[in-house]
Structures are given as C-alpha cells and as structure tokens.
Symmetry: C2
Amino acid sequence: MSNLDLAFAALADPTRRRIVARLTRGELRVTDLAQPFAMSLNAVSKHVKVLEGAGLVGRRREGREHYLRLRAAPLREVARWTAQYERFWTRRLDALGAFLDGQKENGDEGSQ
Amino acid sequence: MSNLDLAFAALADPTRRRIVARLTRGELRVTDLAQPFAMSLNAVSKHVKVLEGAGLVGRRREGREHYLRLRAAPLREVARWTAQYERFWTRRLDALGAFLDGQKENGDEGSQ
DNA sequence: GTATTATTCAACCAAAAGGTTGAATGAATG
DNA sequence: CATTCATTCAACCTTTTGGTTGAATAATAC
C-alpha cells in the first residue's frame, strides 16, 4: 500500500478525521483523546493505530501514558495530489466545456 | 456517509486514482477507460460507480455507450479540508514544537 | 432478424474494516 | 505487595470492499 493509499484510507473515516482535528490543539493521551467518542477505548486505540500506520499521528511514551501528536506531513502529500486537479475545478473546466480546449496538454497519467 | 467520507474513500484506491488521472484528458467510454487496467471490465465498472457515488465522475449516455468525465468538485472539498492543516506542515509545527505556541487558537473541532 | 458490442446486474468469494468483549502487560499508588 | 490505571493484544462478529464469473439488457451492425 502506497503512502497516498494509506493517507486517503485513514482519512476516509470521520472518527479518524475528528481525531486529527482534535490533535491540532496539542498532544493528548489515548484516554483523553478517546473521551468524547461514543465508542470503546479499544476502538479509538485501533483508529489511532491506523493513523500511525499512515504517518498521520506520532506517539511518545511516558511511563504508562502514550502521548499522541499530529504529524501533518501526509496531509501535505494529499494536498499536493489534489492540487494537481485544481485547474479542473477552477474555471468551468469541471463542467461540460472540459474538452473544448483539452486533448493536448497534460501528457502524464498522474501519480502512481 | 458524508461527502468527504465518500471522496476520501473513493480516492483511497490506487485504481480509482488512476481512473481520475485518466479522465483529465477528456471523456472516455467505460471500455476505453478500462483498457489499460489488469482487471475485468466489470471491476472497472464497479470502481466507476464508486467514483460516481462520490461525485467524482459524471456520466453521459449516448446509445449503448456511456461517456465518463471528471467532476472535480469533491476534490476541491478534499483540498479545502487538508488546507486547514497547512500550518501544521509548514514551519516546524509538525515536529515537536507544535504546542509551544498552541493551546489558544483554533477552537473548533474541524469539519464533521 | 440474428449477431455482436457496450454495459450493467447478480451471485459469489476472500480479505479487510470497524466494532465489541475479555485478558494481558506494565506503570503508578495505597 | 496488592490495586488501580493506561494501554494494548487477541479473538470474535458483522459489514464492506475489491475482485471474479455468468447472465441480462439494450443498442448497433450485418
């Protein structure tokens, strides 16, 4: 699984996006992070592992407590990937007129 | 499932990202779209349906042929969501220094 | 009208995802 | 040392995902 696969998949779950949002305020222990969620601590712990797997969360152990923090680098990759398509949503390129001008530029198949 | 859920989930699959990339060159029939992929036409057809479900692909029927085109609007939403975190990857905010300044600004929980 | 072509629908399958509960590990605390 | 607290591990379950094959539908071509 590529980096981008992992990042997109990790962010596809709304709970995980909330976790990411929550971590913008600073480090949190797993228990504190889990507190507002209507699911078991175990479930949140699993979500955190998915985010770690995608490089979106880092962990620092301090005794029995694990402090989690946001690691935004993969978000940068996602942003870069989507930015490739910016010209398709700016201007009317998104709509029907897309190919009146097209067909020549942009010879590559995009990433992966 | 929210729009953003659907968009992220759709983009998590590399085949689907290739489809999106492919459609930047213009409209394609399902068969032509499927041609370079090492999987059955049916599989590609299913991927297309996922992309349609996320609003990333539009379809125009012309007789028995279905012409697919990119609809980039959901990509714009993804870009907007990730842009929220831009300040966490620019500067050294991503790394350990993230909370030296933090704790005050950004009172919301992000989207959804 | 009979093939052929473009596409989907339906059933099936294996693997992954998202959750649960219960037990294990390992620090801190009384 | 016995307990409690923070966290993970493991097993299990249900639903979703990504693929297959085979049949159905519907438009074109011979």
